[in-house]
């Protein structure tokens, strides 16, 4: 079962399309319909974002092929990306 989608090939986050449990190795689909694996390190609420690479503090978070904000702490591959670790660059 596909549990997440990547929207753009340069994105560093994917979107959960099913609820995901900590420790699961999930399959996600990229824009070209290739299926990839990712070990998810925490519970993820459906439609929330997961990092597919390590994102260091002050590096940008990319979704839709565009900047959606920057990391305020180091974000590990496979963890939840949201307001606790990412802020707008427009503030």
């Amino acid at each position: 079962m596909i549990k997440a989608l990547s929207i753009n090939s340069i994105d560093n986050v994917i979107i959960a399309i099913e609820p995901i449990t900590k420790g699961e190795i999930i399959k996600y689909k990229d824009k070209k319909n290739n299926i990839r694996d990712l070990k998810v390190l925490e519970d993820i609420i459906i439609y929330h974002k997961i990092a597919i690479s390590d994102i260091k503090r002050n590096e940008v978070v990319i979704k839709y092929g565009e900047h959606i904000g920057k990391a305020i702490i180091d974000i590990k591959k496979g963890t939840h990306v949201h307001i606790h670790n990412t802020i707008s660059e427009k503030n």
Binding site: L5, K49, K63, I68, V81, H82, T86
Partner: protein, 386 residues
């Protein structure tokens, strides 16, 4: 591809055939409601403004009122005013006749001798207009006569993933067939303005895109507020949207990929064909009111969290990309767009299906908000009452 509509005396094509009971101010809203509740075939709404507004805010209210009366879904209008409000009857009527030659009747409560006399006369005027309206027969018209307004509210990540791309697909189809699509909500262009600017028809349109965003931010700054403060909303965040840029990038998908032909001020008439932008707030009912005042006959409203929003003048088709929301809010939502995420149909196939739905609604099929009687209206505003 064609739809069944009503030809108006000003040449425009309506998808509904309502008589509007138009309250010129908050003080005339209850009398308007009383008239409308007696006469089948009429619509009205609670106008919270029309008096004690600074001139720029008053102009928004005037444009909304004139645009509602001129909207092609309206056969004719009974304007009800109190008499002493800032939006004086002659000013309102002048704004309406600048836009259309459709029938207008007027009633001023202070001159009629109170609300009972006003309501009685109003009912008689409304009956007359409704009978005339019902003589009209529907005819077929091409999609090029349609103006759709696109809106999103209660966004979550499925809005950017499914519902907005689906509406974008539809918007591109309508534009290709010679129709018009309006992309709205200036606050939700912030962080995505560079993408919209690249799609502008020319330098002038490009400058206007940056200008409406700048103007919006400055008007909030002038009262010491920041547009970013309320965005994303608590509901957006709970759904998984992290930043304003993320919300905006998802939001602009509903405008598809067409060239942007024009940028129109709030509630002003939409005159260009193709994809246009209207400067509206992120607040759903006021944004929708602006587009309907601009001439939109149908609104496509995407929502991740689910909303009951409707409008007295135009059908509001509600679409969610969130399958949980669809199950949960089925009574209020017309279209389940979660198939964009989960399949089996492709975005193109689902776009065809949505186009069919739009044609059916244009031809008379009632949407859920119409059946359940949702008619909220609010107007864009800059500051407190004067």
């Amino acid at each position: 591809m064609k739809f069944y509509g009503y030809k108006r005396s000003d040449g425009k094509i309506g998808v509904r055939n309502h008589v509007l009971i138009l309250p010129a101010s908050v003080c005339a809203s209850d009398a308007a409601r009383m008239i409308s509740s007696q006469v089948k075939g009429t619509v009205t709404f609670n106008n919270q403004n029309g008096c004690s507004q600074v001139p720029s805010d008053q102009q928004y209210t005037m444009d909304m009122m004139a645009g509602y009366a001129a909207n092609p879904n309206i056969y004719g209008t009974v304007v009800v005013s109190l008499g002493c409000e800032n939006c004086q009857m002659d000013l309102v009527v002048n704004e309406i006749i600048k836009r259309t030659n459709k029938p207008i009747k007027t009633l001023i409560i202070q001159e009629e001798g109170g609300t009972i006399k006003t309501v009685e006369k109003g009912i008689r005027y409304a009956m007359e207009l409704v009978q005339e309206a019902t003589l009209l027969q529907k005819e077929t018209f091409p999609i090029s006569e349609l103006i759709i307004g696109t809106e999103c509210g209660g966004s979550d990540p499925t809005s950017g993933l499914a519902a907005n791309p689906l509406v974008g697909e539809l918007s591109d189809k309508i534009v290709k067939m010679g129709g018009t699509s309006i992309l709205s909500e200036t606050t939700e262009f912030i962080g995505a303005e560079h993408i919209l600017a690249k799609r502008a028809k020319n330098e002038k349109v490009k400058e206007r895109i940056y200008e409406i965003i700048d103007r919006y931010e400055k008007s909030l700054e002038s009262v010491g507020e920041k547009v970013r403060a309320g965005n994303p909303s608590p509901g957006n965040k709970a759904g998984g949207i992290t930043t304003l840029e993320e919300k905006s990038l998802g939001c602009i998908h509903k405008g598809g990929t067409s060239i942007i032909q024009d940028v129109i001020d709030y509630a002003k008439p939409v005159e260009e064909k193709g994809l246009v932008i209207m400067d509206t707030p992120g607040n759903d009912p006021s944004s929708i009111a602006g587009m309907i005042a601009g001439g939109a006959q149908i609104i496509l409203f995407t929502s991740g969290r689910g909303t009951p929003t409707g409008n007295p003048i135009a059908p509001v088709i509600k679409i969610t990309g969130n399958r949980i929301t669809y199950e949960n809010m089925k009574d209020n939502i017309d279209v389940d767009a979660s198939h964009v995420i989960y399949g089996p149909e492709s975005l193109e196939e689902l776009g065809e299906k949505l186009l069919k739905e739009v044609i059916e609604v244009a031809s008379g099929k009632l949407v859920k908000a119409e059946i359940l009687g949702f008619i909220e209206t609010s107007v864009m505003r800059i500051c407190n009452y004067a």
